[in-house]
Amino acid sequence: MPRLADKRLGPMIFWSIAIAVTAIACAALFYAAAGRTVNAPAGEIADENQLFRETLAAIEADEQSGKLDAEQALAARAELAREVLRSQRTSSTNVSKPLTRTPLVAGLVAVAALTFGAYTFLGRPELPAQPLASRPEVAAQTLDLGGAVTRIEARLAETPEDLRGWQVIAPAYIELGRFADAAEAYRRIIELTGPTAELRTDLAEALLLQAAGDGSEEAMDLLRAAAAGDAAHIRSRLYLAAEYMRLENYEQAGTYWQQAIDLAKGDEAWLPAARQGLLVAKNGGAEIPVAEDQSELIMRMVGGLADRLYSDGGTIEEWTQLVRSYLVLGDQESAQQAYDAAVEAFPAAFDRGDLDGLALGAGLTLNGD
């Protein structure tokens, strides 16, 4: 499990570096004190008169180059002499006693204690850095899905044990229509983590998609196992119900529809479709294709929103939602209409940031021309 190892190793490596850095800093401070002891007294005395000597040299140079005449130079020298005398009178380089080892070591201990105390209080040593480019969820989301998949595949070829990689690549395969590969990926995940209802359903889904409507015995076995293994698993039951509908086994289908409806909280998107399915199953298969029914439902909802917005107006978020819904349904014309109406309601471009972005992305004509 490389991920798990990472999680444990990360903080260990971090603390090792942190301790090393602190130790180096303290050592640098400690040896700085030691390094200066030898020639310190000489330096101290040299400082006192250095500036006076330099000043005198500057006066002489200025006099020679003609910037000062003799009289000015004399006055300047006299001032300098007075300054030197005054400085000698007051000068008492007040070094009481050189720094001893005790305060130095105490200081260094304080540095270390303060650092580790404050960092433990403030820091998150267990959190790794997460640059965007190397985040798997982003890799799967980027538009260039194919490229990302190729990259992950290359990585998986080297580290076939990388569970995270498989978890990312499996849905990506589905997205790309590579159902056989997706099924393989899910098998791999099940091998690595052991089967769960969710994973069995995922695998079954991949197999059913691969069969393109012809059904699959293995998928049915997996779904049944998932439903049997987890009494609260809804998705497997929905698939089973739909498959049994296709096989015209309405009794079984009705059972699974009922179980799924019983498990629902009440606000799920699939619930109307399931109720419809249950009715059909009870009727012994009066054909109403489920997919068509759903899109009709969406149409009705969108119609309701549109009615309200066009007659009573609404927030810019609602308008954006309406435009987005039309785009999802592929109704470019209504989307454009709704966009234009929204622009009328919100003429300031400032208010429409999201909407304009959406419209631009979908190729609608923006306002103004």
């Binding site: 971090f14 960092y119 985040r135």
Partner: protein, 657 residues
């Protein structure tokens, strides 16, 4: 892990600064060995804070949104330069930059300060560490740039669009280098007060730091002004906005400090005043940085206003500034006053300069803080606007500019004003002539315009006067004059160039204020308008898409009076992530003048277009650049230049001759 290591480095730097501050300020008599430790500590603080800063920059560059700062202020689609500059386009990051520059200056003192007497060095580094401890502590405990998010969001909230500009990469670092540089002067002042050691060596140390900080601050303010001019879309270059004033006050005080430190270095006079100014200047710098942050003021510069934060920062300021003045009150009577001089002398002129500058600081301070205090105490809101500042500030600057050219021509200790006046006579006549001529040609009657022009020309010519005087141009063979010019010390050149820059800026200000013309009109594509002899034709209106924004763009063709044409594009952008609009004005430069064109809000069937013609506006910023060049020139001159006193006999001789 890089982020957490950066965090750790900042904490370690904080711990080292706390211990150095305590050690440096309590054990400062312990000699060379302590200086070595403190010097090493200063260098370490810099290295560690630099690592912390790099960690944040890296997180921004790779869009690591597990760093809350990056998640809140960056965006993966932002161009690289704005990802980097976005690091300090927010409160936490700009605090980190502030601390980085603070420790950089500390490390520079440690590196160049090896020849300082150990007690002075210990106190300076101790005080510097105290500042680092206060501000890195404030950063870590109230505005930590290293706060993490888990789980990390997939996209960031983007930077304020107004700040997505090259200006953000330049303006804050320069300004901060200016503000923070004055901390060195502050630390030296504290060291002088504590140790009682205040001599020419002290001034020789302080002056280059003042010069360096002043140069950075000059550039930073000029850059900020130019940025506001082209980005905010109002065409104004100075608004007397509290935030601008907050940066202008340390500049005025720093200018005064520069001149008084000069007197101190050359003549060993004005010591206590110089120390006082050093404390004032840094206090105003702190005020400048943090008045903006405390949430008291609202502007582009207010990032996150959080009352707790404001309270903490005000407490820190009160302790630092109050402590410094308390120390000053207790210790300054014990310091030895400097040398004596006659009222009419170079020293006297510089005191006059300080007097005017200090009063100007007072005026700006009152104008900025009075409305805030009034609001806080009585709840009455008043607005002290540009008219107040223009009048008070103008009234204070006019006499200063009038006497400025005399200063460099006066001798140290005692001088002959009449002789200086005689030497300036020709230049004064020329300035008066030009001012009257130009005003007459432009059709201005007796008003502030000719007076402003007169002052601008007078200061510019007066600056050149000293150089011409010293080279005896026209009075001796030309080759000899040139040889003398080349032989002039860089400090003389730097004085002349600095004053010339000021004159240029004054001329630019007068010219724009007097002759700016403005046109607000509605135009449709295909129509055109006239302003200041230029024809502005609205060619087309279109919508385009940038990396992270949508733009309404108007294309214009401007035909100048001389027939030359230019293609201008003015935009109104909407940034997608934040939905915020910005105005991108189109600016066309003609010599030193500019045409400034802004596309306004679209009306039903037409567009509002605003156009300004700004004659000689570039002189304003050119002047500041010239001033900065003077600062750099002065920094390169590290030879000791003693101001030789004028003897009494010679002065009387000169007067009778």
């Amino acid at each position: 892990m890089s982020i957490e290591l950066g965090h750790f480095a900042l904490v370690l730097a904080f711990a080292i600064s706390v211990v150095s501050a305590v050690g440096g300020l309590t054990l400062w008599r312990r000699g060379e060995r302590l200086s070595a430790v403190l010097g090493q500590a200063a260098v370490l603080q810099f290295v560690l804070v630099a690592l912390a800063f790099l960690a944040v920059v890296h997180a921004f560059v790779v869009s690591d949104f597990s760093l809350a700062l990056a998640a809140n202020h960056s965006h993966s689609l932002k161009p690289l330069i704005f990802k980097i500059s976005g690091v300090w386009g927010n409160h936490e990051g700009s605090m980190l930059l502030w601390v980085l520059i603070l420790v950089l200056f500390g490390a520079l003192v440690a590196a160049f300060g090896r020849s300082l007497p150990s007690d002075l060095s210990n106190l300076v580094l101790g005080t510097q560490s105290l500042l680092t401890a206060a501000f890195s502590g404030f950063t870590l405990f109230t505005s930590n740039p290293f706060v993490r998010l888990s789980p990390a969001p997939l996209e960031g909230g983007d930077l304020n669009p107004v700040l997505q500009d090259i200006g953000l990469a330049i303006h804050p670092p320069l300004l901060y280098a200016g503000y923070v540089g004055f901390s060195i002067c502050f630390s030296f002042a504290i060291a002088a007060l504590v140790s009682g050691r205040i001599d020419q060596a002290w001034a020789r140390w302080v002056r280059p730091w003042t010069m360096l900080s002043w140069t950075f601050l000059t550039l930073g303010i000029a850059m900020g002004s130019y940025w506001a001019y082209y980005e905010l879309g109002w065409g104004g270059w100075w608004f007397w906005d509290p935030v601008e004033n907050a940066s202008f006050m340390p500049w005025l005080a720093g200018t005064a400090l520069l001149h008084s430190a000069l007197v101190m270095e050359k003549r060993n006079a004005l010591k206590i005043w110089t120390i006082f100014l050093a404390i004032i200047t840094f206090s105003l710098s702190l005020l400048g940085t943090f008045l903006v942050r405390s949430g008291i003021l609202t502007s582009v510069h207010t990032f996150a206003s959080d009352p707790t934060r404001g309270l903490v920062i005000l407490t820190i300021l009160a302790l630092l500034i109050g402590g410094a003045f308390l120390l000053f009150a207790i210790r300054s009577p014990a310091l030895r006053q400097g040398g004596l001089f006659a009222p009419i002398s170079r020293e006297g002129a510089l005191i006059l300069n300080n007097l005017f500058l200090a009063t100007a600081v007072g005026a700006v301070l009152v104008g900025t803080l009075y409305p805030l205090l009034l609001d806080a105490l009585t709840g009455t809101t008043i607005s002290v606007g540009a008219p107040f500042f223009n009048f008070t500030f103008g009234a204070l600057m006019a006499p200063l500019l009038l006497v400025l050219p005399f200063g460099p021509l006066l001798a140290w200790k005692r001088a002959d004003l009449v002789a200086a006046g005689q030497r300036l006579m020709g230049f004064a006549a020329l300035a008066i002539f030009l001012a009257i001529l130009i005003s007459a040609l432009a059709g201005n009657s007796i008003s502030l315009v000719p007076i402003g022009l007169l002052l601008g020309f007078w200061v510019s010519f007066g600056a050149v006067a000293e150089v011409i005087e010293r080279s005896r141009l026209g009075r001796i063979p030309l080759a000899e004059s040139l040889r003398r010019l080349a032989g002039l010390s860089r400090s003389i050149w730097s004085t002349a160039i600095g004053h010339l820059g000021l004159g240029l800026t004054v001329l630019g200000i007068v010219s724009v204020s007097a002759w700016e013309t403005e046109l607000v009109t509605t135009l449709n594509p295909g129509e055109s308008a006239e302003l200041a002899g230029s024809n502005i034709a609205f060619d087309s209106f279109e919508q385009s898409e940038g990396a992270n924004y949508l733009a309404d763009a108007g294309r214009f063709t401007v035909t100048a009076p001389d027939g030359g044409t230019a293609e201008l594009v003015a935009e109104r952008r909407t940034y997608v992530a934040s939905g915020m609009p910005t105005t991108e004005a189109a600016i066309q430069t003609y010599g030193l003048s500019q045409l400034y064109l802004q596309l306004g809000e679209p009306l039903d069937d037409t567009h509002v277009v605003r156009v300004w013609h700004k004659p000689y506006i570039l002189l304003i910023w050119l002047g500041t650049l010239v001033m900065a060049v003077a600062g750099v020139l002065s920094l390169t001159d590290r030879r000791i230049r003693l101001g030789a006193p004028q003897s009494r006999q010679k002065l009387s001789l000169g007067a009778t001759r």
